[in-house]
Amino acid sequence: MDPALLVLQTINGLQLGLLLFLVASGLTLVFGILDFVNLAHGALYMLGAFICASFTIALDNFLLAILIALPLTAFAGFVIERLVARNLYQRDHLDQVLATFGLILVIDTCVHIFWGPAGMAVPLPDWMEGQVRITEDIVLPTYRLLIIFTGLVTAALLYWLVNRTRLGMLIRAGASNRRMVGALGIDIQTLFTFVFALGAMLAGLAGMLISPITEASIGMGNNIIITAFVVIIVGGIGSMKGAFIGAMLIGLIDTLGRSFLDSIFALFMSTAAAETSAPAVSAMLIYIIMAVVLVLRPQGLFPPKVR
C-alpha cells in the first residue's frame, strides 16, 4: 500500500465525511425536532449546487456565489416548509415519505427545465486550484483541504449554536419535548421553520462545496440522501454527535474501502479473485457496516436520550 495514496484517500474520506455531516445534520435536526422524514433533503443539496454554479459562472466568483446561494437555498427550504412540510407534521411517516417523494420529482424536474439535462461544471478561482506539498511524496489538493476546513468550521458553529445559545436550547428542548416548548409560549411554528431552513442551507452548502469536484447534476441529491440516511441510522436518529461521528465513519470507510479493499483482499485470495470481488464488496461496505451496527445497537451508536 502506497503511504502517499493512503494519506490522500484519508483526506478524501474526511472530506466526504464532512459533506455527509452537513447533509445528515440537517436531516437529523429536522427529524429530531419535527419528527418529519424529509426525503427531499437531498434535492436541496442539488439545488444549492445548481444555484451556486449559475452564480459562479455569471459573476466569475465562486466565493461570492456561495454567499448568494446560501440564503437562497435557505429560502427554498422556507418555501417548502410553508407550502408542504408544515401540513405534514401531524401526519404519519408514510404520508411524509410519499409527499416528499413527490417533492423530489417536482424539484428534479424543475431543475431539469431550468438548467437542462447536462451537469454544470463549476470553475474554481486559481488560488484554490493548486496543491499543497506536505512532504516529498505527499501532495494534497488545496480545494479538498478547504472543504475539510469549511466543514469543520460549520460543524463547530453548529455545535455552538445547538449547545451554547438560547436558540439551541429551544431546539434541543423541542427535540425532546415539543409540547413543553409550546407550553412555554415559544412560537413553535417559527422555530420549526427556522430549523427547516437551516437544514436546507446546510444541505445546500454541502452541494455547493462538492460541485467544483463533481459538477452540479440532477440526481446528485438522490445519491447522497441514502448515504446520509445510513449515517444517521449508524449515528442514532436525532443525535448531532451521532451524525458527526457516523458521517466521518461512513466517509472514511467508503473512500478507503473503494481504494484499498482489493489490496486487502489480495492478502488472502488470488489477485484475480480480489479484483473481481473487491468492487462488489466495497459497493456494499457501508450497508454492511450499517447492518452490523443495527444488530449490535438497534438505536444506533448514540441514541438520543428522550424519544
Partner: protein, 344 residues
C-alpha cells in the same frame, strides 16, 4: 359498510373483467402497444399487491420493494446471459421454471436476511433501512461489469416455459394476468387466515400482540419473506416483458412508485394495488401524451429563453409529483376510499 363492500366488489369485477378482455381486443385491432402497456400494468400490479401485504396489512413501511423486483429480473437475465455466452455453468439456463424458482428463492433469501435486521427496528428507522438495503443491491449490480454495470443487460431470449411462448405478447400478458389473479387470491387468503389476523393485529397494536403471547417479530419476518418472494416473481415477468434489465429497476424512485400504487390505490384493500398500478400507468402514459401535445406551443418560447431544446419525455414527473403531493395532502384512503364513499 355493506353498501361499501358491494361497491368495491362491483369495482373488482369490472376491473378484472376489463383486464381479462381488453388486451385480446387490442391485439385483434393490431394495437400491440396497448397490450404491452396492459402487461406492464398487470406486472406492476403483482409487485404492488405483494407490497400491500406488508405495507397495507402489516403496517411495515418498506421503501425498498424495487430491490426484490430487480433481483427477480436479474434471476432471468443472468441465467439467459450465461446460457447464450457461456460461463457460470451452474445457473446458465433458459428454462423459465428455473428462472422463476431462482427469482423466488433468491428474493425470499434476501428478504429473510435483510428483514431479520430491518424488523428489529421501528418507525422511521425501518423506512430508511429498507431503502438503504435496496440501494445496496443497486450499487452491487452497478459494480458488476459482467452484467453491464449501470448500462444493464439486454435479454436476447425470453424464458422458455411449457405450452406457451413468452415472446408472443398475448401469451405473456395472460400469464401475467393469471399470476395477478393468483397473487390477489393468495394475499386475500393469507390476510384472512390466522396468520393474517396476527399480522393485522400487530399493525394496529404490536405491544398488545406481544403481551398476548405472539412473537410479533417472527410473524412480520414471514410476511416480509412472502412479500419479497412474490415481488421477485413479478420481477421475473418484468424482465421477460422489458427484454432488458438494469440497476435502474431497483432505484429507490421505483420503490417510491410501488408505494404510490399501494397507497393511492387504497392501503389494505384487495383491489387497491391494481387500481394503483392502473392509475400509475394511466398517469405515466396520459401525462406524457399531454406533454407531447403541449410541446409545440411551449417549445419556441423555451428555446428562446434557455437556448436549448425541450426534453419533454421526462417532464411528466412534474405534474406527477404535484398530483402525489396533493393526493397525500387532500385525499385520504386512496381510490378505494373514494369508491367506497366517505370514511372507512
Amino acid at each position: 359498510m355493506t353498501q361499501g363492500l358491494s361497491r368495491s366488489t362491483v369495482a373488482t369485477v369490472i376491473l378484472l373483467g376489463l383486464l381479462a378482455v381488453l388486451p385480446a381486443v387490442f391485439m385483434a385491432m393490431d394495437n400491440e402497444y396497448y397490450v404491452g402497456l396492459a402487461t406492464r400494468l398487470v406486472i406492476l400490479g403483482i409487485a404492488a399487491t405483494s407490497l400491500n401485504l406488508i405495507l397495507g396489512y402489516g403496517g411495515l413501511i418498506s421503501f425498498g420493494h424495487a430491490a426484490f423486483v430487480g433481483i427477480g429480473a436479474y434471476a432471468v437475465g443472468i441465467p439467459v446471459h450465461h446460457s447464450l455466452f457461456g460461463g457460470f455453468q451452474i445457473v446458465a439456463s433458459n428454462n423459465g421454471l428455473f428462472h422463476v424458482a431462482l427469482a423466488v428463492v433468491i428474493s425470499a433469501l434476501f428478504a429473510l436476511i435483510t428483514g431479520a435486521i430491518c424488523l428489529r427496528t421501528k418507525g422511521v428507522y425501518f423506512i430508511m433501512i429498507t431503502m438503504a438495503f435496496a440501494q445496496m443491491v443497486y450499487y452491487l449490480f452497478i459494480s458488476i461489469d459482467t452484467y453491464g454495470a449501470d448500462d444493464g443487460l439486454v435479454i436476447y431470449q425470453v424464458s422458455q416455459v411449457p405450452l406457451i411462448d413468452l415472446s408472443e405478447p398475448l401469451h405473456l400478458y395472460y400469464l401475467a394476468f393469471a399470476s395477478l389473479v393468483a397473487a390477489i387470491l393468495l394475499v386475500r387468503m393469507i390476510v384472512n387466515s390466522r396468520f393474517g389476523m396476527v399480522l393485522q393485529g400487530a399493525k394496529g397494536n404490536p405491544e398488545r400482540m406481544v403481551t398476548m403471547g405472539y412473537n410479533v417479530y417472527r410473524y412480520r419476518l414471514v410476511a416480509y419473506v412472502i412479500s419479497g418472494a412474490m415481488a421477485g416473481y413479478s420481477g421475473a415477468l418484468l424482465a421477460n416483458y422489458e427484454g432488458f434489465i438494469s440497476p435502474d429497476m431497483m432505484d429507490w424512485a421505483q420503490s417510491g412508485e410501488f408505494m404510490f400504487m399501494v397507497i393511492l390505490g387504497g392501503v389494505a384493500t384487495t383491489l387497491g394495488p391494481i387500481l394503483g398500478s392502473t392509475l400509475f400507468t394511466v398517469l405515466e402514459e396520459g401525462l406524457q401524451i399531454v406533454m407531447d401535445w403541449m410541446e409545440p406551443a411551449v417549445e419556441p418560447a423555451y428555446v428562446a429563453l434557455f437556448g436549448r431544446d425541450l426534453e419533454f419525455e421526462v417532464y411528466w414527473h412534474l405534474p406527477f409529483g404535484l398530483i402525489l403531493i396533493f393526493a397525500v395532502l387532500f385525499v385520504r384512503g386512496g381510490i378505494m376510499g373514494l369508491i367506497r364513499g366517505g370514511k372507512d
